[in-house]
Symmetry: C2
Subunit: 190 residues, 2 copies
DNA sequence: TAATGTCACTCACCAACTTAGTAATCTACT
DNA sequence: AGTAGATTACTAAGTTGGTGAGTGACATTA
C-alpha cells in the first residue's frame, strides 16, 4: 500500500502562522487558496497547478452526482443501493444470482440475499431455469418495473429533452467526449 | 407517477428458446447487447419505445462507470468508499466531522468512525479548532494526499488530454450538455 | 445568567457484506 | 455408462460500517 510516503512530514502541516479569522464556519487551515484566491481550485483540488476548464469541472460535478444519486434515490424508495441497482438491471431481462453478483460487484452469497429481499418486497420473483436444473432466473415483476420507472422517469425525460437540442455535429463531439471520459475512468479499475 | 407504463408485456421475456451456450462464463441470460449484439438497448432497457441516441447511451455508460469506480478503487486501496470519498474531499481543505457527514450523506456518528479509521491509517489527523472549542478539524496528511494522487492521477491525465482536444466551440456544447445532465440527475434527489 | 443550539463523540443495535461450506446438477473425459 | 470436476444457488457464522439515541463541552442568544 503506497510506499509512496517518501519524506513525510506527516503530522504537522507547516504551522498555521496566519492569524485565525474569527469566522465561524470556514475553518481554513491555511493550506490553499480557497475563498479569496483565483476562481478555480483545479480538478484535483490540492494540486493547484493542474489546470482546469469549464468542461472538466462540469464533468467532475456530473461524476460526483452520479455517485450520490443512487444512494439517495434508493433510500427514498426504501431499498438498498444493491437492490435498486439490481432492479435497474433486471429491466433488461432475467438474470441469475451469480451473474447478478458480477454486475453488482459482490459475492454470490450477497446477491442471494439481495434476491431474497427483492422477492420479499414483491419487486422480483425466482423462476427455475428450463433446461438447467441448477439455475434460477430472477425476473422483475410489474411492481418492480413500476418502482424503477416511478423513480427514474423524470430524469430520463429531462435527458431526452436535453439530448434533442443537439445538432448532428454536436453529437459527434459530445459522444466522443463522454466515451473518452468513460474510458479514462474504466482504466482505474484494471 | 409514471403512467407511462401503459401497455407493457410485463414479466415474461419471450422465453429464451435459444439453446444454451456451453460457454463457461458468459451465461448470457439474454441480457445486454453489450459487445456484440445489436447496437442499442434503450436508455431505459425494458421500455423499448423510448428512443435512444449515441450520446444518451454514452452518457448512461459514463454514469454507470461513475457509480462503479469508487468502490473498486477504494477496495484496491484497502479503504471503504466513505474513506476514499472523505480523502478526496479533504484534498480541498480541512473540514469538521459534522460537515464531512453532510458531504458523505451519513450521520455524524458514522463520520466520527470514518475519521477514526482515517487517522488510524495515517491518512488524516484531528486538530482542534482555534477559536471554537467544540470543533475539530480533520486535516489530510501527506500520506493521505499521496494515496489519493497515486490512485487518481492516471485518470486526471487522460481527462486533461481528452479535454485539450476540444475547440472553443466544442467546449460550449459539451459543457452545456454535462451541466444539463447533472441538473437532471440532481432533480431526482429533491 | 439561563436557555437553547451545536459539535464531536460513545453506545447498542442492525443491515448487508464476507468467507467457508453444502447439495444439486451439468459437462467432459475415459 | 461412470465418474471427476465445474458451476449454481444457497446457508451459516463472522465482520464491517451504518443508524438512532444520548452525553458532555462549548457557543450563542435572550
Amino acid at each position: 500500500m503506497s510506499d509512496i510516503s517518501s519524506k513525510q512530514t506527516v503530522g504537522q502541516q507547516p504551522a498555521p502562522s496566519r492569524a485565525r479569522r474569527s469566522k465561524g464556519a470556514a475553518a481554513d487551515g491555511g493550506q490553499h487558496a480557497r475563498a479569496d484566491g483565483p476562481p478555480e481550485v483545479g480538478l484535483v483540488p490540492g494540486v493547484p497547478e493542474w489546470r482546469t476548464t469549464g468542461t472538466l469541472t462540469a464533468l467532475q460535478e456530473l461524476v460526483e452526482v452520479s455517485e450520490t444519486v443512487p444512494a439517495v434515490v434508493a433510500r427514498k424508495a426504501g431499498l438498498s443501493t444493491s437492490e435498486l441497482h439490481s432492479l435497474r438491471h433486471l429491466m433488461r431481462g432475467p438474470i441469475g444470482p451469480v451473474d447478478l453478483a458480477k454486475v453488482l460487484g459482490v459475492t454470490s452469497a450477497a446477491s442471494s440475499g439481495v434476491v431474497d429481499r427483492l422477492v420479499g418486497h414483491g419487486h422480483a420473483e425466482r423462476r427455475s431455469h428450463p433446461g438447467d436444473g441448477r439455475r434460477t432466473e430472477v425476473v422483475i415483476t410489474e411492481r418492480g418495473r413500476a418502482e424503477v420507472l416511478a423513480r427514474m422517469t423524470p430524469m430520463f425525460e429531462s435527458l431526452a429533452a436535453l439530448d434533442a437540442t443537439l445538432s448532428e455535429g454536436d453529437r459527434v463531439v459530445v459522444e466522443r467526449y463522454l466515451r473518452g471520459a468513460t474510458a479514462a475512468m474504466k482504466n482505474l479499475m484494471t
